[in-house]
Symmetry: C2
Subunit: 190 residues, 2 copies
């Protein structure tokens, strides 16, 4: 898919996000999106299979981001420290840069049960990539599965909190979530 | 919905599960299900909104099962011990009784991306009910959210392992998953 700023995919994406914000996801049609972008309905389907997928653009880059998290982690780190460091040093910069887009998407996704279900596929991709990362670091299958689920938990919980607060810094929120998660597992009740 | 063993809902359910197993979920139509059950297509839609929902019957009972887990847990238990005990003492008996049905569903759900997405809604219901349980036990919002995510993690990881192994006992698998999860968070790398 073209990533040029004036490309058709980007114009369709911008038009769709505008319409979702103005009139809601359910009420927006593909012909409306195409018209707003000054393109044909047919050209929309050249770039996106349906209007839902506009909200998940870039998902195919996720495994590479996760792989980068693991590739740059010192081998002696524990799984939780590996997760903590990955979100702080690798994911954070990307997230802060994409904040306006992620916030706009989240405002749409949270309104629709079907979109929340679709969002779970994104988390499944993150889980699979994390399992590969932890297996590569020598964890047994069950350990790697559970460590990957913890990574998804931190990602999902931290992203929601970060997007809900105007002045939040993703690295700090992810750090806080990691610490609280460890405390809960160790048995602290607050 | 009627729960009588000879009721229309149960006949439609049994017919649908047979057809999903025989010819796959995607190839099965609502008219086929109704015909196999000796009923009309119209009567199918009186009981189920679509063929997908046949695989999620009983989901509305989930919040009560989770509430029972929390209601019977001694107040001094840590969150992880509360989860461990709940799966061992409350969920386990129910799961062993439903094993053939859960296994049949899982064989269908795992074959279809859309069904796996739909399955995530079930996990979201479990998460919400667990948040309420942990809040009631006095946990702060972030702690309750994370403890509930751990409960979902244990549920999902343990259920998959239990269904994959012919001779597995759910209580034992859930116990093992809880122990491994604690070990991973504490920093053991195997």
């Amino acid at each position: 898919m073209s990533r040029w700023p004036d490309g058709a995919a980007e114009r369709l994406h911008a038009a769709a996000m505008e319409l979702f914000a103005e009139q809601g996801f359910a009420a927006t049609t593909v012909p409306q999106i195409a018209q707003r972008a000054g393109l044909t309905t047919r050209s929309f389907f050249r770039w996106y299979p349906d209007k839902r997928e506009v909200l998940f653009t870039g998902e195919d880059e996720l495994p590479d981001v996760v792989a980068a998290m693991f590739a740059s982690a010192p081998s002696e780190l524990s799984p939780m420290d590996c997760i903590r460091r990955g979100f702080r040093d690798v994911v954070s910069a990307r997230f802060e840069r994409l904040r306006p887009e992620l916030l706009a998407r989240w405002h749409v996704i949270r309104t629709d049960e079907g979109l929340l279900e679709r969002q779970s596929r994104k988390l499944a991709i993150l889980h699979e990539a994390s399992v590969r990362g932890f297996r590569f670091r020598g964890l047994a299958p069950l350990e790697a599965d559970l460590a990957a689920r913890l990574a998804v938990t931190v990602f999902d919980a931290a992203a929601a909190r970060w997007l809900e607060r105007d002045d939040a810094v993703f690295a700090d929120v992810a750090d806080e979530v990691c610490s609280e998660l460890s405390a809960v597992v160790r048995g602290g009740q607050g």
